[in-house]
């Protein structure tokens, strides 16, 4: 478990660097390091499927973030502490306080770490193998017991890809701004 704590501390340090550094490229790269540490944490916690998915998704997200950042003008925004910024920082601190109070109340009611409640998944663990004949219980739940969730996931992926394509589309905008002859 010392490895788990070490990796969690690594992720927190990576998050601080990613948020606070001035250079956008190094902040994106530290987000990538955080994602890889998260996949190792998943591996420690007994979730190899999640570790694989996290590595793949992290690589794709990192490529998209690099496409966003590389060769862009790195505007380091001048910090002029105006009245509105002080006000928004104060509101953020108040929100953090309320969040911490409610989070501590919620954690008091949760099961202790390393000792989960198996009320729902008892049936899946007991009967999952004999009903679905799938050796991996996670894929048995994904594709046998809760296949509609996976269908919804595929729908969300499709919609987000279509949305990104519509946002990045150039042709309609150019013809709107100039004339309709080059459509």
């Amino acid at each position: 478990m010392i490895l788990l704590y070490g990796l969690l501390a690594f992720m927190i340090i990576g998050a601080i660097i990613a948020i606070e550094t001035k250079d956008l490229l190094s902040s994106v790269i530290s987000v990538g390091a955080m994602g890889l540490a998260l996949s190792i944490i998943f591996l420690i916690l007994g979730a190899p499927d999640l570790a694989i998915v996290q590595v793949v998704v992290e690589v794709v997200a990192l490529i998209m973030l690099l496409r966003l950042v590389v060769e862009r003008e790195d505007v380091t925004i001048a910090h002029r502490y105006r009245y509105g910024e002080v006000f928004s920082t104060a509101v953020g601190l108040v929100f953090f306080g309320i969040f911490i109070v409610f989070a501590s109340l919620a954690y008091r009611g949760m099961p202790e770490f390393g000792n989960p409640v198996f009320r729902v998944s008892e049936m899946y663990i007991r009967d999952g193998f004999s009903v679905s004949r799938a050796a991996n219980l996670v894929t048995a739940i994904l594709l046998d017991f809760r296949a509609y969730d996976t269908l919804g996931e595929a729908t969300v992926i499709f919609v987000s890809i279509v949305g990104a394509l519509v946002i990045l589309r150039k042709k309609g905008r150019i013809s709107d701004e100039r004339d309709d002859t080059d459509r």
């Binding site: 902040s27 998209m64 953020g92 929100f95 004999s130």
Partner: protein, 116 residues
């Protein structure tokens, strides 16, 4: 209890990035950090001390092996959540690219002409 607290610190760092930063890339990064923290918290809740991955290696001893599994339901849901997070990230990055093309900056204070 300590892993939950560390995970909450990570979540608060992501919220801080979204609230306090003026750069669009930093806001996207805060969103990613919140997503990591949420996924990690749900997996931490399902972990059993000394538990193994929910994979049956030998069909004859399935009942014996399954007595030591970690909780498979959070894992099955977080797989979906990670992939949906990738879709969200793709759309947010597309919006950022479009805004940079139009305004030439990532500073949200200079992107003023957002109407309609």
């Amino acid at each position: 209890m300590v892993p939950y607290i560390l995970c909450t610190i990570l979540l608060l760092l992501g919220i801080y990035g979204i609230i306090a930063k003026k750069n669009l890339v930093k806001i996207v990064i805060g969103l990613l950090i919140i997503e990591y923290a949420t996924n990690l918290l749900l997996i931490l809740i399902g972990y059993r001390t000394g538990g193994t991955a929910p994979i049956v290696s030998d069909a004859r001893y399935a009942a014996v092996e399954s007595a030591n599994f970690v909780d498979p339901i959070p894992q099955a849901l977080i797989v979906t959540s990670i992939v949906i997070g990738l879709g969200i990230t793709a759309m947010v990055i597309a919006i950022c690219l479009r805004l940079y093309e139009k305004y030439g900056t990532f500073d949200i204070l200079q992107i003023r002409r957002l109407k309609g």
